[in-house]
């Protein structure tokens, strides 16, 4: 994966430059990486559904190279869903002497990390992942705790029900010596709205004014309305979905 088609965020160790997750608080949100402590990384890329369906991709975090390297970070969120993913991550905090790590292995290494939240149901998975050299389960049960004695506590597939009823899943959550926390791949979602964000006046098929949106008026998961053929087997007229994407004007 190259830089083509993706964005970069500029962050510096110890300096918080990006907007914080608490800024607005859409019901559904996601971020790929967040750190607090000696190394601070604002949730990046952070997306929520304040403006409807949103997606972001980041291929570079300008933290010092000896602390962290990555392939790509992705996050997307919309009505009733959120997902984040990380490819090719390596975090080594040995260069922060106050943490006292001195590990011969990276603190975290992973080929891929994903967190997925769909209609209030959360899941996560990892591939080729390790913490301090300890290999991690591909799909650990919710809230699987791993202790690295004297060093770090790790929670895999961390799942939390929030006060507003939404669910947050964090694929890997690490705390080091009470001085550093690191959250990798997080997704928060609610159940999808009943109306699925339908417009007030659904468009009709050209030359077909029956106004039937394919007989698919529900808020079925995995794609919302307009995900079924109509009774004649024809593709449905799409329902515009609130969202934001900067196209090439």
């Amino acid at each position: 994966m190259t830089g083509v088609g993706a964005l970069s965020a500029v962050l510096t160790a110890g300096v918080l430059l990006a907007p914080t997750a608490s800024a607005t608080g859409g019901e559904n949100s996601a971020f790929a990486i967040s750190a607090n402590g000696l190394l601070k990384i604002a949730p990046t890329p952070y997306v929520d559904d304040t403006n409807g369906a949103t997606e972001e991709s980041v291929v570079r975090l300008d933290v010092p190279q000896n602390l962290l390297s990555l392939g790509v970070l992705n996050a997307r969120a919309g009505d009733g869903y959120a997902k984040s993913s990380i490819a090719d991550l390596r975090v080594s905090l040995n260069a922060l002497p106050d943490l006292g790590l001195g590990l011969s292995q990276p603190l975290v290494a992973a080929e891929a990390i994903e967190a997925n939240c769909e209609d209030g149901v959360a899941s996560s998975s990892v591939a080729g992942a390790s913490v301090a050299g300890i290999a991690l389960d591909v799909a650990a049960p919710p809230n699987t705790a791993i202790e690295v004695p004297g060093l770090a506590s790790v929670t895999l597939n961390k799942q939390v029900t929030n006060d507003d009823g939404s669910t947050t899943v964090t694929a890997i959550s690490i705390k080091v010596n009470k001085l550093q926390s690191l959250d990798l791949a997080s997704a928060t979602c609610t159940k999808a709205d009943d109306d699925g964000g339908k417009p007030s006046t659904p468009p009709t098929t050209p030359g077909d004014d029956d106004g039937d949106n394919g007989g698919d008026n529900g808020d079925d998961s995995n794609g919302g309305s307009g995900s079924q053929a109509d009774k004649d087997g024809m593709a449905p007229v799409p329902t515009p979905v609130k969202g934001h994407l900067d196209v090439t004007g």
Binding site: M1, S85, H244, D246
Partner: protein
């Protein structure tokens, strides 16, 4: 679709999964025992472990699948597919997995045009870079919703013209605006990936992002350089090449375009 074939397929798929050893190599796949020859219809997808599935990048407009097979330009089939769950995308029938196709694109249900079929397999166009990216999915009834789509959009950049056809018959033609010389609207077979009721940009109430991306803008605004169809607040674009790659249309044309199913092919010449 052959429903009985599908159930057999699933049974074998489960068995294969049980036997599959989580491999560190993405390229690893199992060769189906019934592959090839006259039994192509029953070729089943190679088992993909959850670990390998996690490794596969999502095929969205933000993706870049440099290894994707390119659109061979075969005659359109008029079929579109909606994945009911994240589907593995393969380089060929029972070939190497290289991506997963999510159920949504920018909040809309994913619908992809089918450009070739082989048994229960379908070659579909993908919404990622590079332009013309395609891949094969196993399109059994449990995996996908299938539908007919007889609409096609033809864009002629030289004539600044956009035409909607149904079953080959013209439903209307409109004069449009296209990308300026330094940021041309890319040529080829694209498709409509989503229908966005735009909440931030105010130049068009609805934006129809296409599967194609600008060759000259790696990114644009906060997006990945996606080429879209949309209207514009004034008529300064009509018959002009002055956009950054998007196809600008009149409100009258947009009113018809938004009725087209997702997955509708947009041929840009």
């Amino acid at each position: 679709m052959d429903r009985s074939g599908t159930s057999r397929a699933l049974g074998r798929k489960r068995s294969a999964r049980l036997l599959a050893v989580a491999s560190a190599a993405l390229l690893a796949f199992l060769v189906s025992a019934c592959g090839g020859g006259e039994e192509q219809n029953t070729v089943q997808p190679s088992a993909v472990s959850q670990e390998d599935l996690t490794r596969l990048p999502d095929a969205t407009t933000y993706g870049d699948l440099a290894d994707a097979p390119l659109d061979p330009g075969a005659a359109p089939t008029g079929q579109v597919l909606h994945p009911k769950k994240d589907l593995v995308v393969y380089k060929a029938v029972n070939g190497e997995p290289f991506a997963k196709l999510p159920t949504r694109q920018m909040g809309s249900p994913t619908w992809v045009p089918v450009i070739a079929t082989q048994g229960e397999w379908a070659q579909v166009l993908l919404p990622t870079r590079p332009n013309g990216a395609s891949g094969w999915i196993h399109a059994g009834d449990s995996d996908v919703e299938s539908a007919r789509n007889n609409f096609v959009v033809n864009v002629n950049r030289e004539a600044f013209e956009l035409e909607i056809t149904e079953d080959g018959k013209s439903l209307g033609k409109w004069t449009i605006g296209i990308g300026k010389d330094e940021h041309p609207t890319p040529e080829g077979r694209a498709y409509i990936i989503a229908s966005i009721e735009e909440t931030v940009n105010d130049y068009s109430p609805i934006v129809l992002p296409l599967s194609f991306h600008s060759d000259s803008h790696e990114t644009f605004g906060g997006g990945p350089g996606t080429v879209g169809i949309h209207t514009w607040p004034d008529d300064s674009f009509v018959g002009q090449a002055n956009s950054d790659g998007c196809i600008r249309v009149t409100q009258e044309a947009l009113d018809e375009l938004v009725k087209l199913p997702l997955g509708t092919v947009v041929n840009i010449v």
